[in-house]
């Protein structure tokens, strides 16, 4: 026995273009967002794109000039600019957590011992326990990418940007999509409304638990309650740019609503490597000089050694790494 399901817009009856990935469809004729069970979905919003191709080129230029300072990057070429409307779920919740536990820490205790000549002050550390009984009560917006997997470059960073600019979203307008934003590659959601709510809940639970664990040495009880105050489907315009420098490809992702760089790769040139290697040697030499001239206490060379080692850890990393990755 078999059964057949039709894919047809429940409002204007025109056929829906379906794609095995999508959980929300937009009717090509009337633009209405439709859930996969055929019901209408109203909370569809969009962060409007404000930049064009030319501005994208300028943003890339500025980014490379600013972050590629001292590297001598000249003659790069932009090879691919692909704007994508990326789907996000913004799950709004009131979350409340009550947790009980204890915190262990140490207090210093000073006391005076002995009499006469032997009189002296002794400092000792005492372990102290403090009961913790606290609440977390907050309104939150959790943002999830509406896609499984994540081949969208920089998607992890976009979440934070979407959360910050969520209030600027406007209701989704299908005419605008087919008009001014037609160059955008439109991605729908692979995650259904129900799944988004569930996954959002898991994020809140995990976050509150880890905050409770941070506040306590041991948590005895931790209980979270949440109530949903609205789940929105928000599209954010992301420009994915590829550029070539010395035959190698690098990527930059730009958020179209603000024009800020989400994440970008910058080539590491020989000049950059030489600068950081020289720096490593300078710190080594500088630390040596300090411990030679100011070495009347054993702490000085030890501290200088540790400082030089920590700095060297990073300067040497810069000497050897394949490329740099920068957030905006």
């Amino acid at each position: 026995m078999s059964e057949l399901t039709k894919f047809q817009c429940p409002y204007c009856n025109s056929p829906l273009e379906i794609n095995p990935e999508d959980k929300i469809f937009n009717c090509v004729s009337c633009g209405q967002a439709v859930l996969s069970d055929g019901s209408k979905f109203e909370n569809h919003y969009i962060l409007e794109n404000t930049i064009n191709q030319k501005q994208v080129h300028d943003i890339v230029k500025n980014f490379i000039r600013k972050k590629g300072y001292l590297r001598g990057i000249r003659g790069y070429k932009i090879t691919k600019v692909s704007p994508i409307l990326t789907p996000f779920w913004c799950v709004n919740t009131d979350a409340y957590t009550h947790f009980v536990g204890y915190l262990r820490y140490s207090e210093t205790k000073t006391r005076t011992v002995g009499t006469g000549k032997n009189r002296r002050t002794v400092t000792e550390h005492v372990t102290v326990y403090r009961p913790v009984d606290n609440e977390i009560n907050e309104k939150r917006v959790d943002v999830l990418l509406g896609r499984r997997g994540s081949s969208i470059y920089g998607y992890d960073k976009v979440k934070d940007l979407v959360r910050a600019t969520f209030s600027r979203a406007v209701p989704f307008n299908y005419d605008r999509l087919t008009g001014t934003e037609k160059e955008f590659d439109y991605l729908s959601s692979e995650i259904s409304l129900e799944a988004a709510n569930q996954l959002g809940k898991t994020i809140v639970f995990d976050d509150h638990r880890s905050r409770a664990e941070k506040a306590c040495t041991k948590v005895f009880d931790c209980a979270t309650q949440i109530s949903y105050t609205g789940t929105y489907f928000v599209h954010a315009p992301v420009w994915q740019v590829e550029y070539i420098f010395k035959d190698e490809t690098y990527r930059i992702a730009i958020l179209g609503s603000t024009g800020s760089v989400i994440l970008g790769e910058i080539p590491v040139t020989t000049r950059f490597r030489v600068i950081f290697l020289t720096l490593s040697f300078l710190f080594l030499g500088g630390g040596g000089a300090v411990s030679y001239f100011f070495g009347d206490q054993v702490a000085v060379p030890i501290i200088a050694g540790i400082v030089a080692a920590v700095i060297g850890f990073f300067t040497l990393k810069n000497t050897f790494k394949p490329m740099s990755v920068h957030g905006g």
């Binding site: 056929p15 081949s151 969208i152 991605l187 490597r273 490593s280 411990s291 030089a308 050897f320 394949p322």
Partner: protein, 322 residues
């Protein structure tokens, strides 16, 4: 072949036995055929990179590293190239766990400053519920490959699986070692592990657990991977690249001899400074200077070796769940 009737305009439609979706040529409404017995949703990612493009991607990634031969775009010779579709199950599990057992609470005594000097733990009966939903990606190929197991897969652009497409690009299709039920069981198990971890945080002793697993969605996805072998200065190197997105799963990085010499000289130099420092400190000549040189020199040498001797490169890795 199967014949069915379009549910919209009643036109006759023909579909392959393996096909699940069909678009009516008359009214262009797409219909989905569901067997009442559960149908495995089976997808594949199309191969978007051919052998030549995948070579360019590979060389590009290698060349970003220092000390690699500059003419690699021309000189790299690929001696072996296999394209294989690797199966992954993507399972969304909802689990509700009701538990009861012995929890703890504490009493405090001997007030001291902002806390207490003494803490006593007492058992108390405790019960609660965990109720949440997570997504699991289950690697389902027979050959164990940690790189593919930890690779952050992408499911973007998936289409219904068609064996013909794989044949067209002359690719092998690895069969899944799990059937649908096993994949579900695997995911439910992982979810139970997570809940067990949470329970152990709440309880000192678990006495009773009742859970209700529910699989909210499951599909099988075949992802094309290129397995490459190439030779460099007489040594065989290997690489794996994702044929759908062109990302490098893992590659070995061929380096020029001059690079090894540079790394060797550099780490020798730092190591020598460190050893000289130890000598100076032990001999009590320039004692303080010696201590500094010993600490910094040895750390620098170790770091240089650690970074310089890296021979493999991965573009992305899946982050492990807590």
């Amino acid at each position: 072949m199967k014949s069915i009737m379009c549910p919209n305009c009643a036109a006759p439609l023909e579909m392959e036995d393996t096909q699940t979706h069909v678009t009516c040529p008359y009214c262009s409404v797409t219909s989905e055929l569901k067997k009442v017995k559960e149908l495995i949703e089976h997808y594949m990612l199309p191969v978007m990179y051919d052998a030549e493009q995948i070579r360019t991607e590979l060389v590009g990634d290698i060349l970003k590293h220092p000390g690699t031969p500059e003419d690699l775009h021309k000189s790299l010779k690929i001696s072996k190239l296999d394209l294989k579709f690797i199966p992954y199950f993507i399972v969304t599990v909802h689990l509700r766990t009701e538990y009861s057992g012995v929890g703890e609470y504490a009493t405090y005594s001997f007030r001291y400053k902002s806390g207490y000097r003494n803490i006593d733990f007492h058992p108390k009966p405790e019960q609660g519920v965990f109720d949440d939903e997570r997504e699991f990606i289950i690697y389902a190929a027979e050959e164990i490959n940690n790189e593919l197991l930890n690779f952050e897969i992408s499911t973007r652009g998936k289409v219904y699986f068609q064996a013909l497409e794989a044949e067209k690009v002359r690719a092998d299709v690895s069969p899944s070692v799990f059937d649908l039920e096993q994949a579900k069981a695997e995911a439910i198990n992982s979810m139970r592990e997570i809940h067990k971890g949470l329970m152990l945080k709440e309880l000192a002793q678990i006495q009773e657990v009742r859970d209700q697993p529910e699989v909210k969605g499951v599909y099988l996805l075949h992802i094309p991977f290129y397995f490459l072998e190439f030779e460099f200065s007489g040594k065989k190197q290997t690489a794996i690249l994702d044929g759908a997105t062109g990302r490098t799963v893992i590659t070995q990085i061929p380096r020029e001899t001059s690079y090894w010499i540079q790394v060797g000289v550099l780490s020798f130099l730092f190591g020598a400074i460190g050893l000289a420092g130890i000598y100076l400190a032990v001999q009590q000549i320039f004692f303080y200077f010696g201590i500094f040189a010993a600490i910094a020199g040895l750390v620098f040498a170790a770091r240089t070796l650690q970074l310089g001797l890296k021979t493999r490169y991965r573009e992305t890795r899946r982050r492990r769940r807590r």
